[in-house]
């Protein structure tokens, strides 16, 4: 799994630079030109996500992926409110001046961080229990196989050949004694 992560990380890091530039050229710049109020609100509101992206050394960037969606949910009500009533920089500034706006946007991001730190240990515990159960199941299958086919079923090819040779030699000795 770690290998797979590394492979993916290389792939993402390799295309990350190009993707970031494209995102900046085709999304950020047009948004700043054609929807400056929304862009302003997002630029300020998504700071926790940007911070998460910067501080997260994981190539998968799971921190911004966790914080980001909830952070976005925190910005979305104010963006919609602005789109509905007055999509101007003044309105955007007003909203940014309201502490409630900050609390909602950053509170949502904080919830993302809660997710980021709380869910993985729970998943680990669940996975360990699940795999342990699978191991137990495999063990019982192995025991029943040995019961049905004998310990030889566990032998490697070489050990099996050696055992057969020993049996043949023993039989030959018995025949010679006869």
């Amino acid at each position: 799994m770690a290998k797979r992560s590394d492979g993916r990380s290389r792939k993402q890091s390799g295309g990350g630079g190009g993707g970031g530039v494209a995102f900046f050229v085709f999304v950020v710049v047009p948004a700043a030109v054609f929807a400056a109020p929304t862009a302003l609100l997002f630029a300020v509101g998504l700071v926790p996500t940007f911070v998460a992206a910067i501080i997260d050394r994981d190539p998968d960037k799971s921190a911004p992926m966790t914080v980001g969606p909830l952070n976005l949910c925190g910005i979305l009500p104010f963006t919609m409110e602005m789109w509905r009533h007055n999509h101007t920089l003044t309105e955007a500034t007003r909203l940014l001046g309201d502490p409630f706006t900050w609390m909602v946007m950053y509170g949502a991001a904080a919830l993302g961080w809660v997710f980021y730190y709380m869910i993985p240990p729970m998943v680990t515990g669940f996975e360990v229990v699940r795999w342990q159960s699978r191991i137990d199941s495999l063990k019982s299958k192995k025991v029943s196989l040995i019961e049905e086919w004998g310990p030889e079923v566990t032998f490697s090819d070489e050990a099996l050949v050696r055992q057969q040779q020993e049996a043949a030699a023993s039989a030959a000795n018995a025949a010679a004694r006869r």
């Binding site: 799971s62 909830l70 993985p120 240990p121 998943v123 795999w131 030889e152």
Partner: protein, 679 residues
């Protein structure tokens, strides 16, 4: 056992109940008759079950001597008052242990045994009584036996019975059916050649040998005692070689004048000059011939000193050579023997033959070569003497009985095997002055036997030679020897009986049993016998044995053999172990147990010889191994994963957290969008 005998309770009460022989005779174990005991075993009273009124007795062969079965068919047809009548024979259960013995039933002689022992002293028999009673009673028997080609082989004073009553007195020969000719005969009653042979190796003999024994018997009767009582066999033989039999036996004692002529004629040591039945018949009918002088052996001008003795002729020297093998080899190799033959005996041709015999010893090593060389040289020096090799001295036609005797005594088998292996009988035949063409079949037979002897594996070797040479001999395997099995079918029943014994061996077969089957049941492939020894796979061995025994059971319609099947089933563990699948092993075991109960060897064989089941098991085992390997790999992988929880947290945990966050985000965004659109 398909025997012609049975008894109601013989096995239970120590064989005190009468034992019936083929529903024809009853043998009474409680009534022994020591006066009629034979060389083969003790005598017991017997009675005919129906019809016959004459009294009978039975000799129960102890089994310590080989039986004489080949002549019994002919002896059954002889009804001559001068010979105790042989009535029947068969194998009967004898003794509390259920062992079986060969019983031979005879008509009980009317009078007593003429002499209790050879050394018994009695009044000399007058010559007219010898002529009227002895010769008139017994010569017709000798003629009848000679006419039928049978040798009595046991003519001596202790085997003569008085025939009293019926208005006259006569004599009868005792029985000769229970032992091979000559085996119980003191050496004095044998010709010099046969006397030099060991009793079991004297061969079948001939009517001329009977006549010789008859003449010695006459001499004993005429003297009223054993004339050579004070001489042991060796001294007597030496005296006979030196002076001739007649002179050695008569010594200085006066012999009735009338008997001189027949005794001298019948006791001539040269078989060509010895009287035959015709001459004796002429003499009895009154024609008198001039007494023959015994032809003595050619004497050397000077003796050869060997082994502390002076040897004057070849026969005496040959005897000394075989007794002193090491010194004899030196004597042969250093040329001293050659010089003596050429200068002392003036026998240049014989000297050449001896040199050829000595040089023809090829193969083998060490003492074997010396023994063989000495044996060949001794044979060349005295061609009519027996084959003398190491401590063995046997006539070629006596080798079969000698071998059986050696096996029964468990002693001296190896030298006899070497006699066959080194082709000494063929050498013996090659140096005979007469009878060359008649000896060819014997040489060919020994050549075949040598092939069987040298073949490796059970079913061959000396045991096979034993049973090929003795077609009527019972199986001498310690497992079944007490049951006297003389055919393959009887062997199966004997094995069935042996299977019930507590002290039975691990395997129900040994070299004897396999060789016996190979010689008595010729429908089987030799490869089966070779498998019994050479196969490293015990399953193949037991399968081969089962195939052999099952074939006998089906071919001879032998009944169920549950005990033998059970015995064989104890050897089948390797056959079960061949199956990897444990439940199938149990199934196979149950099948074998069931087959063993039924007593059919074929069914038993099918249980272990099932290629389809073996193939299925092998396929299943391979699949199980693959499955096991997959389980092991998966388990290791899972153990590796759960041994690193941080990695799960960092990978799967983070991904799951991100996914949950995305899902929650999407849901919340969807709700907000909905609310935005509704407003």
């Amino acid at each position: 056992m398909p025997s012609d005998s049975h008894t109601a309770d013989a096995g239970k009460d120590g064989a005190q109940e009468p034992v019936t022989l083929g529903d024809r005779f009853e043998i009474l174990p409680s009534q022994s008759i020591p006066a009629l005991d034979g060389v083969a075993g003790p005598a017991f009273a017997a009675r005919a079950v129906r019809g016959r009124k004459a009294e009978c007795f039975a000799i129960i062969c102890s089994g310590q001597l080989p039986p004489r079965i080949d002549a019994t068919t002919m002896l059954l047809t002889i009804d001559n008052p001068g010979l105790i009548r042989f009535l029947d024979q068969g194998v009967i259960p004898w003794g509390p242990d259920g062992s079986r013995r060969l019983a031979m039933v005879f008509e009980r002689p009317l009078g007593r045994r003429l002499r209790a022992t050879l050394d018994a002293v009695a009044d000399p028999m007058p010559e007219d009584q010898i002529q009227r009673t002895v010769m008139h009673s017994l010569v017709p028997v000798l003629k009848e036996l000679a006419g039928r080609g049978i040798t009595h082989g046991s003519i001596r004073p202790t085997n003569l019975f008085l025939r009293e009553g019926g208005g006259g007195t006569g004599l009868s020969f005792g029985e000769c059916a229970s032992t091979p000719p000559g085996i119980g005969q003191p050496a004095v009653f044998e010709t010099i050649e046969r006397a030099m042979s060991e009793p079991a190796g004297r061969g079948t003999g001939s009517p001329a040998d009977d006549l010789f024994a008859f003449a010695v018997t006459l001499m004993f009767l005429a003297f009223g005692r054993n004339p050579v009582q004070d001489l042991d066999d060796e001294a007597l033989l030496a005296a006979r070689i030196e002076r001739g039999t007649y002179a050695a036996l008569v010594g200085g004692v006066r012999i009735p004048t009338n008997l001189i002529e027949p005794l001298r004629g019948l006791l001539i040591d040269d078989p060509k000059q010895r009287w035959g039945l015709n001459q004796l018949d002429l003499w009895i009918s009154g024609r008198r011939l001039s007494p023959k002088q015994a032809q003595l052996l050619k004497r050397a001008s000077r003796p050869l000193e060997f082994a502390g003795q002076d040897c004057w002729h070849c026969r005496g020297l040959a005897r000394l050579l075989v007794r002193n093998g090491g010194a004899a080899a030196i004597l042969i190799d250093n040329g001293e023997l050659d010089r003596w033959l050429r200068r002392g005996l003036s026998e240049d041709v014989l000297a050449e033959s001896v040199a050829l015999a000595a040089d023809g010893t090829v193969g083998g090593a060490g003492k074997t070569v010396i023994d063989r060389k000495v044996a060949r040289v001794a044979m060349t020096l005295d061609p009519s003497a027996p084959i003398r090799y190491r401590d063995k001295s046997v006539m070629p036609d006596g080798l079969a009985v000698a071998l059986a005797d050696a096996f029964l005594r468990r002693d001296g088998v190896q030298p006899l095997a070497e006699i066959v292996a080194w082709q000494l009988p063929a050498f013996w035949a090659g140096i005979q002055a007469e009878g060359g063409a008649e000896l060819v079949p014997m040489v060919q037979a020994f050549d075949t036997l040598r092939g069987l002897l040298e073949k490796a594996g059970t079913g061959f070797g000396i045991e096979r030679v034993l049973y090929e040479m003795n077609p009527y001999l019972h199986c001498l395997s310690p497992i079944v020897i007490d049951y006297r099995a003389t055919s393959a079918a009887e062997l199966l029943t004997a094995l069935e009986a042996a299977a019930g014994r507590r002290d039975r061996t691990r395997d129900p077969f040994d070299r004897h049993i396999i060789a016996f089957i190979a010689s008595r049941h010729r429908h089987l492939d030799d490869a089966l016998f070779i498998l019994l020894t050479t196969s490293a796979d015990p399953v193949r061995t037991i399968a081969a044995m089962l195939t052999i025994l099952a074939d006998i059971q089906s071919r001879f319609a032998v009944g169920p053999l549950p005990a033998l099947c059970q015995w064989l089933s104890t050897l089948m563990e390797p056959a079960f172990m061949r199956f990897h699948n444990r439940p199938h092993r149990e199934i196979a075991r149950r099948q074998v147990e069931k087959a063993a109960t039924d007593g059919k060897l074929v069914t038993l064989l099918r249980c272990i010889d099932d290629p389809e089941a073996i193939s299925k098991d092998a396929t299943g085992f391979a699949a199980a191994r693959r499955k096991h390997k997959a389980i092991v790999n998966e388990t290791e992988k899972l153990r590796d994963i759960i041994s690193k929880p941080d990695e799960i947290t960092e990978t799967t945990g983070r991904q799951v957290a991100a996914i949950i966050a995305c899902v929650v985000g999407v849901l919340v965004a969807a709700v907000l969008c909905l609310m935005f659109l509704v407003k």
